[in-house]
Symmetry: C2
């Protein structure tokens, strides 16, 4: 983790900057400081820097503005998603709409989104603004698809991967592409880095789904089986479901009156029996191999080790 | 109204464009089409064109993108404000969060905001993006100030005017300034037009407040006395309140158990007795005179009559 740590250190004062914002009335600024100070791995701004370091080892002012914009945008989506999903907790703390109220969370989120565009405008690069806009549009579409999946019984794995691409992967793709462009990458290589970000995002989400059911609690850092108890239509769940006949599906549905430990034990057994467990793990690993392979084939003048380490960390969830 | 009508006609196909958006999933796009199709006077995009026509009489592609961006941004603020304010109706129809739900209104609003930036990015003018960002930030601050005024008993008229400047006037200022810049105005004149937009906005809001209590129902197009029944802290109300002693204030507060017609009759009488009625009308008219005077003193190569008519219409609420 030395390489990532180095990037996080480089980022630290710029993260402090966006946390400590002046501005009045305070009630619209405090939720922004709050959500940004809850922490998180800062993996997206680190990806911005890692992509930049592929081409240049002397940072510009602009690259930190881009890193800030990406982290702020991510937190904007969290602030609004938490209202939409009725989530009471974020990183173990009250979500903004719980600590304040819905109106404050909507408005502070809107302001945070405007601040993202302020950063991007300061960079002054129209191409990066265009890439950002397309990404942000897809992310909204992905959030709507995700909300709609909750209301339907069966989601195809193609639909799930497409939603995951929109909701999670495009922001990673943008982070790499835009970071590389500011580092001096040509358009073709920057697009390859976008695709690389998509692979990283899909692999990360699949592994996240897998570990939620089959990880070790101590390593994953949260309770195992949460997705199963929520009947969340993850890749793992959908893959299992597609292999079950009507009778087996009904058995699973009937399980949900049983104690939680029983539900988790039975569903994970079914995920194993149907091959969904193995298949999901294999697919996640495929995305990681594809990512590392793509990175090997890009010719860069700078240092690949930053991005390599990030790919490996996200694949193994070691941090 | 011939001049405004002409501008509205020029705008019509471009308004149709933003109403009829393709995109999937439909559930995130339909609320955008819906709110944009509810109508309204389209006064903000008309102001964009009117400012442009001060300098040029041949439209560019960019000026219509700016007009679209301004109308879309206005509707984005309405979509989110209606959730924050718990408003069930907008232009006589269900608001988005009522017709769909809060989550959809939040997300479609976020998408609409991104579309605003797509339009601005297509214009490709960094200065206009900067002006827009500052304006949008102030508008968020104004909405928070407005929400906070509801929770306090006494609002000074300075605070009220400052909130109105942020919440209503800055978007009019931006519409004129940016429209003029795209028409070829120099920076100094564009700033004068921003100030003109601020005067128009303040005058408009004061007149709106005045007519809500003292207008004719048929002309104003809505029930008279609504603000009074809500105890809304308008300029008119605050001005009256500042002239009342403790006893008179208590009498007003006690009125609110009486029938509505009695409340309205007594409060309007008090607004008249304290001079608040006359003072508010006079101040509104001052802003209009100031606006028309400022317009007279700007040297332009084009046609002033479009903007002149808009100032007069907004001052008299004739449309």
């Amino acid at each position: 983790m030395n390489k990532l740590k180095e990037l996080i250190n480089d980022l630290a004062p710029h993260v402090e900057d966006i946390i400590n914002q002046p501005g009045s009335p305070r009630t619209v600024y405090e939720p922004i400081s709050y959500i940004l100070s809850l922490g998180g791995k800062r993996i997206r701004p680190a990806m911005v820097l890692a992509a930049y370091r592929l081409y240049s080892d002397s940072y510009s002012l602009e690259i930190f503005k881009l890193a800030q914009a990406v982290e702020m945008f991510h937190n904007f989506t969290l602030m609004h998603d938490d209202i939409m999903d009725n989530s009471p907790l974020r990183r173990g703390q009250d979500t903004v709409h719980i600590k304040w109220d819905d109106a404050t969370a909507i408005l502070s989120g809107d302001l945070l989104q405007i601040e993202v565009y302020e950063k991007l405008t300061e960079i002054g690069n129209i191409e990066i603004l265009q890439l950002f806009n397309s990404m942000a549009r897809e992310l909204c579409e992905g959030q709507m698809n995700d909300m709609q999946f909750e209301t339907i019984d069966e989601v195809s794995n193609d639909s799930y991967l497409d939603m995951t691409r929109q909701k999670t992967a495009v922001l990673l793709g943008f982070s790499l592409q835009a970071g590389a462009l500011l580092g001096g990458a040509n358009a073709t290589d920057a697009e390859k880095l976008y695709d690389l970000g998509i692979s990283i995002g899909l692999g990360f989400q699949l592994m996240d789904d897998y570990l939620d059911s089959f990880g070790e609690k101590a390593k994953v850092g949260k309770r195992i089986g949460g997705d199963i108890l929520e009947k969340k239509k993850t890749y793992l769940w959908n893959e299992m479901w597609s292999h079950l006949d009507e009778g087996a599906r009904q058995e699973i549905n009937e399980l949900y009156t049983q104690p939680e430990s029983m539900i988790i034990a039975s569903v994970t057994a079914s995920m194993d029996d149907t091959g969904a467990k193995e298949y999901t793990l294999e697919l996640a690993q495929q995305y990681t191999r594809k990512s590392l392979n793509a990175l090997n084939h890009i010719n860069v003048s700078g240092d690949k080790t930053y991005l390599q380490e990030i790919v490996e960390i996200l694949a193994g969830r070691e941090s």
